[in-house]
Symmetry: C2
Subunit: 358 residues, 2 copies
DNA sequence: CTGAAAGCGCTTACAG
DNA sequence: CTGAAAGCGCTTACAG
């Protein structure tokens, strides 16, 4: 039972074994005739008039019933309800909306960077939650930080007359956004903020978060704390760095250049950087890793150096491995779902205020 | 520069330092008067008639121009274009759709389990990509596997007359879905499949994926291969297990009970399970971890046992740490973005076939 | 309590 | 090349 090459380890990283499969049901091919059976006739969706005809009432009465307006005699209501059920009638929200003019928000548009990224997916989740609670639905799209894509998405959403827009800004025209705001579309920015556009913004308090991280380490007696952060030209990264530096200064701790590394790198690159910065004769006693992938890279480096129980680490955001690494890592989570919720609440607040005002 | 408690490590796991912040712009409060300035008048959105009036043409001409229909003299077109720009006119897609009857798909509804989960977020990303390429937009919502939520979402989407539905099935009524399909809404199921509903399905070929994983290890000379998998009552988990077992049998390798562990556990629990199963006197020489969190837990266990270079591991799906762990892990990725793309392509195919047929 | 008219913003036929 | 009419599916006033 011992393998012939027990000591070998498969080392290929991410072998690409794609295996998507499409199972086509017979039903889907029936747009063309098969074995002589008649093509299924796609019955046109029943309208309020179809229901009225079937129930033998005026279409206005149907409208009253399906909208629960009341003022309809029980007998008529019963007949209408029956016809609705038989025909499988469903109100067309588009038509309602078109006529209704001002009514509570029904659709929110969310422009984000990339839904496949857990952070943005969580933002969407939070928005969705408050939207759903109010019968509201969410349209979303990824920009990959392209101003052009952002413009297209906003165009598409506005064209569909969303009641409000939540956007993780990617650099599209401030003038266009201001025009849209002036035109009455409520906009709330999330996470990233454009200059020259006056609108509400919901974001994490990165400065305070970094302060907490560093204070946490100071409280445990550390004074020689390294800091690995994202490229400081990114506003949030800079705020985190400032939070760290200010906290260190206030505590009277020295901050040296070689203990503070910032830049835009992959997890693998950060592993290398951490190996160099922490694998020195007198390493810091603790390190703040101010971003997800930096945390992952640094954890790997600490374990390789065997220093995972010697150098304390506090990271930002949740990480898969937080739960299984020994010892566990302390992190300052960003709570993106909460961020999304707050953005949606703010949007609907503004949206409602406007509706009420007309 | 040496910390006073250099040896200590902060061990709290995930300290909750939430720090969402709302920055309200002055603009947002202007729905009520402030410092005597007049409330901004929300100009009503300009319609095709407003543009016509401004350009001094009939509204039908405006329609022609904004739809790029041609058959309009250059002079008129120029006047219309100018008026459109001045007024910031945008076609109302809702109204277009209402009148147009049959036209290419414009909105897709996607019902998933949880967007905050990277797998589902990636599915959405894939759908979005093919949708966007065709001027189509995506409405999505999370069910958390609640049949009730699923029904509500489908209702909301159908009410808005989406041109098609992609759903990761969560157990809502098959009868309702069949009725909707009969009514003409194209539906494609993704990942999970309902019984008693005839519709297309796009999913990973879990059996083939597991086969590949196990074959990969066999090819490297392993014969004593352990298998850690999700609860086998989950269809996909069962397919993976079968793929593994069949491959082992075909290769003439023995499979014992203690080498095959399945069940629904957290990453931390899997770590414990792996420690027990692999920390035995004569451990297997390789292990297949058939799911994301199982992989994470097992990696942690192997490193703790110091067996990460002795026992080979092949996992399923991508994992954050795949990139940084030493040695790197081999994984069979599921390519959720690709799955999403295929589902959307299939949906639009069916949708188009129907449109053409009317 | 019930219904006929007008209109939401657009497009689809149909005339000139 | 240009436009007046009718209608998409519904709701909002207005009458009975």
């Amino acid at each position: 039972m011992v393998a012939s090459c027990g000591g070998s380890r498969v080392v290929d990283n991410v072998v690409s074994f794609g295996h998507a499969t499409l199972v086509t049901s017979p039903r889907a091919d029936e747009t063309t005739l098969s074995n002589g059976r008649p093509k299924p006739v796609l019955t046109k969706r029943p309208t309020i008039r179809d229901v009225a005809e079937r129930a033998g009432v005026s279409f206005k009465t149907v409208s009253r019933v399906v909208n629960g307006e009341g003022g309809v005699s029980p007998g008529m209501k019963a007949r209408v309800d029956e016809a609705v059920a038989e025909l499988g009638f469903r109100l067309d929200e588009r038509a309602r909306n078109l006529r209704q003019g001002e009514s509570p928000a029904t659709t929110i548009g969310f422009v984000l960077v990339d839904v496949a990224n857990e952070f943005f997916g969580s933002l969407l989740r939070g928005i969705e939650e408050v939207a759903t609670a109010r019968q509201c639905v969410v349209l979303s799209g990824s920009t990959d930080r392209s101003p052009e894509r952002e413009r297209q998405l906003i165009d598409a959403f506005v064209g569909r007359r969303v009641d409000g827009l939540i956007v993780v800004y990617s650099g599209s025209s401030a003038a266009a956004l201001n025009a849209e705001i002036a035109r009455g579309t409520p906009i709330v920015f999330l996470d990233l903020e454009p200059e020259d556009v006056k609108a509400d913004l919901v974001r994490s308090d990165h400065y305070a978060g970094a302060k907490l991280a560093t204070e946490h380490l100071l409280k445990h007696g550390h004074v020689d704390i390294a800091y690995f952060g994202d490229d400081s030209t990114v506003v949030s990264a800079n705020q985190r760095l400032l939070g760290h530096l200010d906290t260190m200064r206030e505590a009277g701790c020295e901050v040296t250049r070689d203990r503070t590394v910032t830049g835009s790198h992959s997890a693998g690159e950060w592993r290398t950087i951490a190996l160099e910065a922490l694998g020195v004769p007198s390493p810091p006693t603790a390190v703040v890793t101010a971003q997800n992938i930096i945390t992952v890279g640094t954890v790997a480096a600490l374990h390789e150096l065997g220093l995972q129980r010697t150098i304390a680490q506090v990271g930002f955001d949740d990480v898969d491995l937080a739960a299984v690494v020994e010892p566990p890592i302390t992190v300052v989570p960003q709570r993106p779902i909460e961020l999304g919720r707050r953005a949606a609440e703010q949007l609907l607040l503004v949206s409602r205020a406007r509706t009420a005002h007309r």
